[in-house]
C-alpha cells in the first residue's frame, strides 16, 4: 500500500517568506508526527497529532512554526518569516493510534521535504 508522502520534496525560499509543507499519512493511521533533521544530526521532535488535535506542541522551536491537521488525515506545517536557521529536512511520520503509556507504535516515515532558506 501507499506509504507516507510529503510535498514538496525540495523547497528553496528567501529569508522572510512563508512556506507550507504537506504530509499525507498512511491511510488508517490516526497519529501523525513532524520532525526536523538538521545536517549531520538526529531527528528533533516538533509536534504530534492524535486525530485532528495536537496534544503536544512543545517541540515547535518558535511561534513562527505552526501545524494543523484536518479530517484526521493530511497535515500542513507552516513556517512564517523563514530564517536561514530553518534550513533542514522536515520529516513526517504516521502510526496507528498511540495510547499514553502503551508500547510504542511503529512510526513510518515519509521521504521528507528539504528546505533551504537563502
Amino acid at each position: 500500500g501507499a506509504g507516507v508522502s510529503q510535498s514538496p520534496s525540495n523547497k528553496v525560499t528567501e529569508k522572510g517568506k512563508d512556506v507550507e509543507l504537506r504530509c499525507d499519512p498512511i491511510s488508517g493511521h490516526t497519529a501523525l508526527y513532524w520532525y526536523r533533521q538538521s545536517l549531520g544530526q538526529g531527528l528533533e521532535f516538533l509536534i504530534y497529532f492524535q486525530g485532528n488535535s495536537a496534544p503536544d506542541k512543545s517541540g515547535l522551536p518558535s511561534d513562527r512554526f505552526s501545524a494543523e491537521r484536518t479530517g484526521g488525515s493530511v497535515s500542513t506545517l507552516t513556517i512564517q518569516r523563514t530564517q536561514q536557521e530553518d534550513s533542514a529536512v522536515y520529516l513526517c511520520a504516521s502510526s496507528l493510534a498511540q495510547s499514553a503509556g502503551a508500547t510504542q507504535e511503529t512510526q513510518y516515515f515519509g521521504p521528507g521535504t528539504r528546505l533551504l532558506v537563502l
Binding site: 544530526q41 531527528l43 513510518y108 516515515f109
Partner: protein
C-alpha cells in the same frame, strides 16, 4: 527522562567483516527501542524494534540487536557487511509517543 547515545559517529569496516554499532540508552521505565537506517537521499526505514519480548531482536537485511538492561545497551550487529549496508544508522528510544533520537552513526564499507 529518556535519552540515547550513539558511541561512534563513524564506523568503517571491510566488506564481509562483522558490523557493530553501539548504542546506550537512559530510561526511567522499560523502554521501546528501535534502530532506523537512512540511505543517502532515501527515507528512514525501520530495521528492528524491541518492546520487552525477546531480548535478541532480529531485523531486516541480516541485522540484529540485543537489549541488555544491566548495561543499558542496545547494540546493532551484523555478521558480514555488504556494500549496500553503507548508510546512516539511528538508535531511538521511545518516550510515550515521542521518539528520542541518537545523533546517528555513519557506516562506511570498504571494498
Amino acid at each position: 527522562a529518556q535519552s540515547v547515545t550513539q558511541l561512534d559517529s563513524h564506523v568503517s569496516v571491510s566488506e564481509g567483516t562483522p558490523v557493530l554499532l553501539r548504542c546506550n540508552y537512559s530510561s526511567s521505565y522499560s523502554p521501546s527501542l528501535f534502530w532506523y537506517v537512512q540511505h543517502p537521499n532515501k527515507g528512514l526505514q525501520l530495521l528492528l524494534k524491541y518492546t520487552s519480548a525477546a531480548t535478541l531482536v532480529k531485523g531486516i537485511n541480516g541485522f540484529e540487536a540485543e537489549f541488555k538492561k544491566s548495561e543499558t545497551s542496545f547494540h546493532l550487529t551484523k555478521p558480514s557487511a555488504h556494500m549496500s549496508d553503507a548508510a546512516e544508522y539511528f538508535c531511538v528510544v521511545s518516550a510515550d509517543y515521542q521518539l528520542i533520537w541518537g545523533a546517528g552513526t555513519k557506516l562506511i564499507i570498504k571494498p
